[in-house]
């Protein structure tokens, strides 16, 4: 496919369970972003990768959140010991290798996480 894909599209987890969310960016896109979007809110930045390097993880809400992109392509966002407040849509976006990386981010469909 030509776009950013994410899986799973929906995830229901019991409180305390670990989850892993996957993002496949557009081929050739160097930059990859993870966002958390609560209902009725705009996306909140979580973390940013340039190739395999995680250049900014300042938006990760706690040390239960961990993201990786070991080969500079697919990325995984892992949430350990999920809590109810983690329930949200998690969006992944990628963009071209440009010094204005923000110019146009292509978003995936998101993963809706519900923690019971």
């Amino acid at each position: 496919g030509a776009g950013v894909s994410q899986s799973p599209r929906y995830k229901v987890a019991k409180r305390g369970q670990d989850v892993a969310l996957r993002c496949d960016p557009i081929s050739g896109h160097v930059s990859l972003f993870w966002y958390q979007q609560a209902l009725g809110q705009g996306p909140e930045f979580l973390t940013y990768f340039q190739n395999e390097a995680q250049l900014d993880k300042s938006g990760l809400p706690s040390d239960r959140f961990f993201a990786e992109r070991p080969e500079g392509s697919v990325s995984t966002l892992k949430i350990q010991r999920t809590q109810q407040e983690d329930s949200a849509v998690y969006l992944c976006a990628s963009s071209w290798p440009d010094d204005r990386v923000i110019y146009e981010q292509f978003f995936g469909p998101g993963t809706r996480l519900t923690v019971l």
Partner: protein
């Protein structure tokens, strides 16, 4: 603290109407303002605005930025049901080449 505020939060109009969505911002080191359309889940890019007074246009959509008054508007003319979506505004800071500050969005519903 940087913030982006969109109004109204929601809007219901009839097909054929013209709508104006607002985005105001208080951001240090402003660089650009972006508009996105979010249907279902994935936001899609609409416009990027960097200069005051220059209208960006794409079909029935247009947008303009006022850097003095710190706001932007997104206009949609002759609305169609397919325009129903959440419209998100985000601001880029000049001292960050990747972080966006997002508004909460305006939910637009077009009734046939």
């Amino acid at each position: 603290e940087d913030k982006v505020v969109q109004s109204p939060l929601s809007l219901v109009v009839h097909e054929g109407d013209t709508v104006t969505l607002n985005c105001s911002y208080e951001v240090t080191n402003f660089r650009s303002l972006l508009w996105y359309k979010q249907e279902k889940k994935a936001p899609t890019f609409l416009f990027m605005l960097t200069s005051s007074g220059i209208e960006k246009k794409s079909g029935r959509l247009s947008s303009i930025l006022d850097k003095k008054e710190l706001f932007s508007i997104l206009n949609i003319t002759a609305t169609q049901t397919g325009d129903s979506a959440v419209y998100l505004c985000a601001v880029e800071r000049a001292d960050s080449n990747y972080q966006l500050i997002w508004g909460a969005g305006t939910k637009l519903i077009i009734k046939p």
